[in-house]
């Protein structure tokens, strides 16, 4: 008898049917099974937020959830946010405000920035508090906060 469990997940607007082991983490499913390498593994202990994705419209750290828990759910990863020659507003804001240096943590910050907008966050203080859970080891956060505030001001 196979220990694998059948699941159907909508990933970046595409239904995907898979047979997976119960112990497979969502982040490993995305990176290894689906080759979506934009979601990064930073700390692998739920601290850093580099693996942030949206599940049914809400940010979740994909290293802290089993892929089987996402059965019948809708997942958005950084790959769905914009394209190299057609950046989304949030990516433009990071680009224009120098909101990244090495870029490793950026996919996670982008996902959090999108939820900031959904939650009608506007002030710098609110943005900084909302960024708890996303670590950046390069920028000192100044330009990340600047980028997100600039994104939030866009219509």
């Amino acid at each position: 008898m196979s220990d694998k469990i059948p699941i159907v997940i909508n990933i970046n607007n595409k239904d995907v049917t898979l047979n997976i082991e119960s112990r497979l983490l969502l982040v490993d499913l995305l990176r290894n099974n689906l080759e979506l390498k934009g979601t990064h593994i930073g700390c692998d202990t739920s601290q850093c937020g580099s693996c942030m994705v949206m599940i049914d419209g809400k940010c979740i750290k994909s290293c802290s959830i089993l892929a089987v828990q996402c059965n019948k759910k809708s997942i958005k990863t950084i790959e769905s946010i914009g394209k190299e020659n057609n950046l989304s507003n949030v990516q433009k804001a990071f680009n224009e405000n120098h909101g990244l240096q090495c870029g490793f943590c950026t996919p996670g910050f982008i996902m959090t920035a999108l939820e900031c907008k959904k939650n009608n966050i506007s002030t710098e203080e609110e943005v900084r508090e909302f960024l708890d859970g996303n670590f950046c080891r390069c920028t000192g956060y100044q330009n990340i906060v600047k980028s997100i505030i600039s994104f939030l001001k866009m219509s």
């Binding site: 112990r23 983490l25 202990t45 739920s46 937020g49 959830i65 909302f130 708890d132």
Partner: protein, 264 residues
């Protein structure tokens, strides 16, 4: 991650029956503590029973001066609920300060209290507000529910279904947290029922406790109370890499005036 079996029951009864059948099962709700613990082998259940789809465990209701919060309600749902904001403002504020946004999107009130982390936020509110924890078989008062570090009154397959809070219009939560984890080094929840002020502390000892020394003080007395004279008899403070026992008791004394001012 090690191998385990995953189950997705659709009813409370099915969940409990599954639990009884398995060798070393655990219920999985938000998984914000359980999954990271399993990755590090701090917990190694043979079977995970995922209860996220059990409807009986969801929802926030108001009934006869009480608020009932389903066990699967996430921290962000508590933080944003207009019913809770209107009736127990301190509780929604507490929920908004748990961990980070991603954890609050997934972590649940039931999961948090069953885990009984001594530094978790909810236990302080449950004690101060004199909440009742409802399970599939009984009702347990918060003061009886938390036994020790990571230990509760729950037995075997017993499952928390909801928590009932008496409405208290005046309440506040104040936390001095670890900057890395946002867990409380000292967290204090204060509430006023029109007669008495009840203050409960989390993060400071093996479990949350009620500050009984000041239970007989009126609000006006507390506003000018000399908290330096608190003795904390029978309280054994935690001492760890975050803070010494002396530091924790000093934090409590220094945070209390701010808490009292914010309740009223």
């Amino acid at each position: 991650m090690y191998k385990f079996k995953y189950h997705k029951p659709t009813s409370l009864e099915e969940s409990i029956n599954l639990f009884k059948e398995k060798e070393f099962p655990k219920y999985l709700s938000g998984g914000m503590t359980l999954i990271p613990s399993m990755k590090q082998l701090l917990s190694s259940p043979t079977d995970l029973i995922d209860i996220q789809d059990i409807k009986e465990l969801k929802g926030i209701y108001e009934s006869e001066n009480k608020i009932i919060i389903g066990a699967l309600t996430t921290h962000n749902e508590v933080a944003h609920s207009s019913i809770i904001k209107k009736n127990i403002k301190g509780l929604s504020y507490l929920a908004s300060k748990i961990a980070d946004n991603a954890v609050r999107n997934s972590g649940t009130i039931g999961g948090s209290i069953c885990n009984a982390d001594p530094a978790a936020d909810y236990p302080a509110a449950l004690l101060s507000l004199n909440a009742t924890i409802n399970t599939n078989i009984r009702e347990i008062l918060a003061k009886d529910f938390f036994i020790d570090m990571f230990e509760t009154k729950l037995e075997g397959s017993e499952i928390v279904t909801s928590v009932t809070f008496p409405i208290k219009k005046k309440s506040f939560y104040l936390k001095f947290s670890s900057q890395a984890s946002k867990y409380a080094i000292v967290g204090m929840f204060g509430s006023f029922d029109g007669d008495r002020v009840s203050v409960s502390i989390t993060g400071a000892a093996n479990k949350a406790f009620n500050l009984e020394e000041i239970n007989d003080q009126s609000p006006n007395q507390l506003k000018v109370y000399d908290f330096d004279k608190l003795e904390f008899n029978e309280i054994s403070f935690n001492s760890d890499i975050h803070a010494s026992a002396e530091y924790r008791s000093s934090l409590i004394k220094n945070m209390l005036p701010d808490l009292i001012n914010n309740i009223f």
